[in-house]
Symmetry: C2
Subunit: 347 residues, 2 copies
């Protein structure tokens, strides 16, 4: 089959690789119908996260089961399924608690020795613990299929951030980061009943999506000017909850500055940089909590899926460029150049 | 009257100062029956927190109302009352939410221009919002009076840490810090139903109190050895909740290392040092939350008071040395030398 590989910074290729086969009795082999490129893939693309030459990449995908191992009970050939961005055994203590990202036997798509989502097919370990079945008729609904793909990462990650930010009905929420995760954070905050949602962002193409997703205010300023703008919008107090969906020192600093005393930062931006951006003295005096991390998306899919199927929430607008497999390297460049928000891949 | 003043690092004095008088109609003047020295006072004592020469000190006290301003409705001369370690107006949005430490008109005892608790009397601003009445007959019960004094700070702060650590019935909790706050964290965790409480500490006088307060295990090792010991006690996973009651980089590093994936650190140690001790990448991967800060003790007194009155919880063992007002400077030295855990002051 053909799959995307990374050989060096900015050197993405689409190559012939061995077809995936059932290796363990709990495996499934899945033909990819939709995949996409994640903002976090760009850290590897830029060389800021190390990869071995030839390593696979892509951790968001849905598709059709082609073959299932003898111990797989929940899936059979022909099933339409979505995969969360980590696999997990579904049986350990952490999986039972809904923290599948901490499953000791879990792993990340595209890690050495595993398939990535940006290819024609994927071997899925622990299929029963990992995959979630989708209605078969969704396979013929192009728009719905794209919306469902967001369940693999960005929608669940936005939801995790909103939970970490403590969003409740009536909350005021601010969202730092206008990427797909930040925008899904807006959608998730709206879904959880936030009354006021302040999106920080300067690109109108993105802030327009934020407004469509439920943002009531947009702050285009950056740094201290952005902090001042949020404070002005909130009577000087800041937001009850802040979604941090970037992962840099500066974005965390902004998040702390715009959180109301007693509020929470829900952080889902993968931390990068040597410092944390956290001023613990300020957080201490103001009782600001920090919650979040890598989202246990597998736990959230059952809750979010019905709303996506019903069209109550539609994250599909975050995908603004579609490529085939050969177009993946150019897709990376488009996201790196910020001419694309999030690239959809149709292998 | 006579009150403790700080003139320079290690230069504590007990001096004649002006008698407090009602300045605002919402004030109360209170005669101090019991006060104490806090671990956080030692930062000023050592010169690590700046103070102006002659500034008052002490933020934990209870006593008898001597005079009440014309707008005070809740208290009259003769009432026995306890003060939380900050005053607050009781009427603002934050006070209504139970985050009195963020009251815009609130303040800290011993700040410039205010009285401190380590003296014969205190002018209490916003008395109705600040003070909590105690049963009159407690004034003649020496043991109970000492226990009630812990409501002014350490017991409520331990409770705040336990809440931040997310203690629930059945939780496994680890406590970093064997000072009075850490010990009260043990007591609070026990009260909230923790099943297993691991106290980190090397001084048997202190760990004996921890055991009496409900600790099921004591870890005497430090640093990485302590982390390994906690992991071994918890099946390799760490504690669901960790109470951080020190405030140094090292203690926070330990707290992160011994928190179970998906768990929370409740931090109440005043942050000191240039770094945070937080490895955000580790916290991200393991979904470790950080919650806490300066405890809104005023909000907790009504909940904790009945248990102290009933003797269900008795924090009084944290006071292991008693001095009169003249003995306060020596009391500081005893705490600095760690020959005393917490010094009780009977003016």
């Amino acid at each position: 089959m053909r799959a995307t590989t990374i050989h060096a910074p900015f050197d993405m290729r689409v190559e012939d690789v061995p077809d995936p086969v059932i290796q363990d009795s709990t495996d499934v082999v899945l033909r990819v119908l939709r995949a996409c490129i994640c903002g976090s893939d760009l850290w590897a693309y830029r060389g800021e996260s190390a990869r071995q030459p030839g390593q696979r990449i892509g951790h968001e995908f849905l598709g059709i089961v082609e073959a299932a191992g003898s111990d797989v009970t929940g899936f059979a050939a022909g099933d339409l399924v979505v995969a969360p961005f980590v696999w997990s055994d579904g049986t350990c203590e952490y999986c039972a608690e809904g923290l599948q990202t901490s499953c000791p036997r879990g792993g990340f798509w595209g890690s050495v020795g595993s398939d990535g989502g940006q290819g024609e097919a994927v071997r899925v370990p622990f299929a029963d613990g990992t995959l979630v079945k989708l209605p078969a008729d969704a396979a013929s609904d192009d728009h719905l299929l794209t919306a469902l793909l967001a369940l693999s990462d960005v929608l669940g990650t936005g939801h995790h951030a909103a939970l970490g930010a403590g969003v409740r009905p009536g909350s005021t929420v601010a969202v730092v980061g206008d990427g797909a995760v930040g925008l899904c954070g807006v959608l998730a905050a709206k879904r959880l009943g936030a009354e006021r949602i302040i999106a920080l962002g300067r690109h109108t193409a993105r802030t327009d999506i934020a407004r469509a997703f439920g943002a009531t205010d947009v702050v285009a300023e950056r740094g201290e000017a952005a902090e001042a703008a949020v404070r002005e919008l909130t009577g000087g107090q800041g937001a009850h909850g802040v979604i941090e969906a970037v992962g840099t020192e500066q974005s965390m600093r902004t998040a702390v500055a715009i959180t109301r005393d007693g509020g929470s930062i829900g952080y889902v931006g993968v931390p990068h940089g040597s410092g944390t951006g956290l001023d613990l003295s300020v957080m201490f005096d103001r009782n600001i909590a920090l919650r979040g991390g890598v989202a246990p998306v597998r736990a959230y899919i059952p809750e979010l899926l019905p709303d996506v199927l019903a069209g109550t929430i539609d994250p599909s607008p975050v995908f603004d460029l579609t490529v085939d497999l050969d177009g993946v390297p150019a897709g990376y460049k488009s996201m790196e150049d910020r001419t694309a928000l999030k690239v959809l891949v149709k292998p």
